[in-house]
Amino acid sequence: MLKIKNLHCRVETQDGEEKPILKGLSLEVPAGEVHAIMGPNGSGKSTLSYVLTGRDGYDVTDGEMVFCGEDLAELEPEERAAAGLYLSFQYPVEIPGVPTLTFLKEALNAQRTARGEEEMSAPEFMKFARAQAKQIGVSMDMLKRPVNVGFSGGEKKRMEILQAMILEPKFLILDETDSGLDIDALKTVAEGVNTLRAEDRGMLVITHYQRLLDHIKPDVVHIMADGRIIKSGGPELALELEADGYDKYLGEVA
């Protein structure tokens, strides 16, 4: 479903310099599987999520990323979204003045139009959104508020999952790099992942800590260091990391 081959990426730093972050990353996630990427700070985990979704300033210099047969590098961020790629942000953005429902209805219909599908009518959308919100315990009241404005960290994570349930992407990237997730937010993310797990959907969970994986149970765990995947294995790899730390793998890089 998602195939990344020998990906090299440069990132523009604040002082305008370009710095190589991804240095030949290869990875394949088939439909129906959940893969986790773990790695120390600075290994390029968040960069991977941004380069896959097409953020400005993240330039691919070599290699390829193919999603459902399409070369992602050729597509604008909104085209990648319409193709079915969804990023759950590490820090969901607040958008004052734009009600969440309006935002999601516009987004869903923009994606549908881009795919040549019919738009969803307002009453139809309301009914659908209400049903999805109920399933994950979000009130309609919250959906009427501006996107993420004034929400707690846990509420924001819950909204990211709900947005995915409404937009129904083919593939989710969850950027949970930060250690700041409290236990509730962690459980919310895990619950969401388990709800969204499906045979025709792939997922990539990016995290720094093993504890998230206790709740998610990935099919494959990859270890990333210095811009590359240096080891892949089953869920036991995460446990090993928890016990021994990253040091022995970092040694392999050098």
Binding site: E76, P77, R80, A81, V98, E106, A110, L167
Partner: protein, 343 residues
């Protein structure tokens, strides 16, 4: 001070007002003695009227219509009214005095329809009697080559409420002046302004609110967005006289630079002679939040649509002071339509 040489617009204005009386005669005299204001005049330093109007050399006409009929020089209003200001190409003047009787409540729906190469000088004198309410909603959507100058003087009586919301898309030069005398003693003034400027356009919101009696409330919120080579000007002044104790006045101007080559000029001023007042002003400039833009695009919105939504959400707040729901929707709709076309 002698004027070196008159511009065609100055000469046309002097000719137009030959033999005129009252304020027109005073205006004519001022043009003869000083010419039209240039950027050397403090109040016009970001809006060089002489320069912007110099290519306009003929006499034009301004028509002021109330509910579709030509307006008299002065009128008392007690019901909702549509005010239309129309100007043909050329130099022109127009004037209207409006009185809102004590206790009356009126919505004034004001639309400026100005032709290209028109330089209309409009003077409105509005007086709100004690306890009166006036909601004035102004839409200025004019061609690039128009140079409208609209100066309103508003007297707000005790316990009266004056709400004004202006939406301007600017032009080569658009000057929106509002000068309020605020009686205090239960009176409230709410001034909302929005400017959205396409490339090369200019809009100037200049206002003074003079609190002359105690306990007055003023809220002013002006928000704008400007594209490349556009210029947004905000000059706001609150004057609180010694008698105006317990005045509560807040002024805010916030602008979005849609391009590094946009220009925003702001001069907020407080002049306070009373010692027991709450007055504040704030002024902030910003750019579109690139992270928010990426977030919205990641959800599937096109860059154009995402940008338009972000700008609209930024600009919408001053329009919210319009209490007439249908009118508020109309004004938001106009803003949205223009955003869809330019973002």
């Amino acid at each position: 001070m002698g004027v070196i040489s008159r511009t065609p617009a100055e000469q046309a204005l002097i000719d137009l007002l030959d033999g005129a009386e009252d304020w027109r005669a005073a205006a004519r005299q001022a043009v003869i003695e000083h010419g039209l204001p240039t950027k050397r005049a403090e109040a016009w330093k970001w809006s060089d009227l002489r320069r912007a109007s110099q290519g306009i050399d003929q006499a034009g006409e301004t028509r002021i219509l109330l509910n579709g009929k030509p307006a008299p020089a002065a009128i008392t209003l007690d019901a909702d009214t549509a005010l239309k200001i129309e100007a043909d190409a050329g130099v022109s003047v127009g004037s209207l005095e409006i009185e809102i009787a004590a206790g009356a409540s009126v919505t004034l729906n004001e639309v400026h329809t100005i032709a290209a190469d028109a330089f209309p000088n409009i003077r409105l004198e509005i007086s709100l009697g004690d306890g009166a309410t006036l909601e004035r909603v102004i839409r200025s959507d004019v061609p690039m080559d128009a140079v409208p100058v609209v100066r309103s003087r508003i007297r707000v009586g005790k316990n009266a409420t004056y709400r004004q919301a202006t939406l301007s898309f600017g032009s080569k030069l658009s000057r929106h002046e509002t000068h309020i005398t605020h009686a205090g003693e239960g009176a409230e003034v709410h001034l909302g302004g929005v400017y959205l400027l396409e490339e090369g356009r200019h809009a100037d919101f200049t206002s003074t609110v003079t609190h002359s009696g105690p306990g007055g409330v003023t809220r002013q919120l002006v928000k704008g967005a400007a594209m490349a080579h556009a210029q947004g000007v905000f000059q706001g002044k609150f004057k609180v006289e010694q008698a105006a104790q317990q005045t509560d006045a807040q002024m805010t101007h916030r602008a979005l630079m849609l391009d590094e080559r946009a220009e925003i000029d702001a001069k907020p001023e407080l002049e306070i002679y009373a010692d027991d007042v709450q007055c504040a002003h704030g002024n902030a400039l910003g750019a579109i939040d690139e992270t928010a833009l990426f977030y919205m695009r990641q959800r599937g919105l096109s860059e154009v649509k995402a940008r338009a939504m972000l700008i609209e959400s930024f600009l919408a707040e001053p329009i919210d002071i319009i209490s007439d729901e249908a009118l508020r929707e109309e004004v938001s709709g106009l803003l949205r339509q223009r955003l869809g076309a330019i973002a």
